[in-house]
């Protein structure tokens, strides 16, 4: 017998520190698999965010560096402009990308900086214990919206992919999901396309990945795909928005 699916060599021997069933792990796995398929596993540099993925550099075999919360798009700008030949992924959460760092995110997108943003949208601040984020669904209970998110108070859902897709500069903007094998394969294809654009033609790409946070959703991981399909994706439809 030969193996037809095995663990990517771009992943470290270390297990990730993400919770059981957290789709952060799925996203990291896909990035590693794509890097191997593109033959860039020794070239890719990844930026670790503040949040659950702060130890990202431990889990992957790429060079990695960080930025203060919300600032990866600025830090990535400086890196990529000074070393345009190095493929760069900004791995960010929804709080990092759409809340504290929305200014840096949008300006970098509008300038068409030559990196790929992988945004993990799980609708909560995961690491700090499940507070409401700009992506939290209306009515969703979090530790800072304990009776359900009231949009008149906390604002409606920010759909970052749609905002970024409205700019001229970005080459590829897409939202994918990680809740079924079919969606995971589509997400992988999107990551691959984004990196191919970055490497072959240059320019900005944004891949938003709908993800789960079973711990803070207070949900059995096995129940998260159904919830995502029936509730989350109604608010955040998947598909290519640009490019």
């Amino acid at each position: 017998m030969e193996s037809v699916y095995q663990r990517s060599k771009a992943l470290s021997a270390a297990s990730t520190s993400f919770c059981p069933g957290c789709m952060h792990s799925t996203a990291v796995k896909l990035i590693c698999e794509v890097s191997e398929e593109l033959g860039i596993q020794d070239d890719l540099v990844i930026m670790a965010p503040i949040g659950c993925a702060v130890y990202l550099g431990v889990f992957v075999q790429f060079d990695s560096f960080g930025a203060p919360h919300g600032r990866p798009a600025a830090t990535g700008t400086g890196f990529k402009r000074s070393n345009p030949d190095v493929p760069l992924i900004l791995y960010q959460g929804d709080g990092d990308c759409a809340s504290i760092g929305i200014a840096e995110t949008l300006h970098a997108a509008n300038r068409g900086e030559g990196f790929t943003v992988i945004m993990i949208n799980n609708q909560v601040y995961g690491m700090t214990g499940g507070q409401a984020a700009p992506t939290t669904l209306p009515g969703q209970k979090t530790t800072t919206s304990q009776y359900g998110k009231i949009t008149e108070d906390m604002g409606d859902v920010i759909k970052l992919a749609e905002i970024i897709a409205s700019f001229n500069a970005p080459k590829y903007v897409t939202r994918q999901s990680l809740h079924t094998p079919k969606n995971i394969l589509a997400a992988k294809k999107a990551i691959k396309k984004a990196l191919e654009i970055q490497i072959n033609e240059g320019g900005y790409s944004y891949v938003e990945l709908m993800s789960s946070c079973p711990t803070n959703w207070k949900m059995d991981p096995k129940d998260t795909p159904k919830y995502m399909e029936e509730v989350v994706l109604k608010e955040f439809p998947v598909g290519d928005l640009k490019g």
């Binding site: 017998m1 030969e2 193996s3 037809v4 699916y5 095995q6 663990r7 990517s8 992943l11 297990s15 990730t16 993400f18 919770c19 059981p20 069933g21 957290c22 789709m23 952060h24 792990s25 799925t26 796995k29 590693c32 990680l178 079924t180 094998p181 995971i184 394969l185 079973p214 059995d220 991981p221 096995k222 998260t224 795909p225």
Partner: protein, 67 residues
């Protein structure tokens, strides 16, 4: 002949693979790994078709598929 091997080092017992197996061959095992997770196991190995859906679904890259 096909089968999957679940690496207890990486499996966190989340169970996301259970529902995606068309034959329903995956379930929570009776052993616990070093992190304290009851990791998944495959039963009735002979029915496995190496469709890879479990491995694709597995967040933690714990599943190797053989054919």
């Amino acid at each position: 002949m096909a089968k999957v091997v679940i690496d207890p080092v990486y499996c966190k017992g989340c169970g996301l693979c259970f529902a995606v197996c068309p034959k329903g061959l995956l379930k929570t095992g009776d052993k616990v790994n070093a992190k304290g997770y009851a990791y998944a196991m495959q039963e009735n190995e002979e029915q496995c078709t190496a469709c890879k859906l479990c491995a694709i679904m597995c967040p933690d890259a714990a599943i190797t598929v053989y054919k």
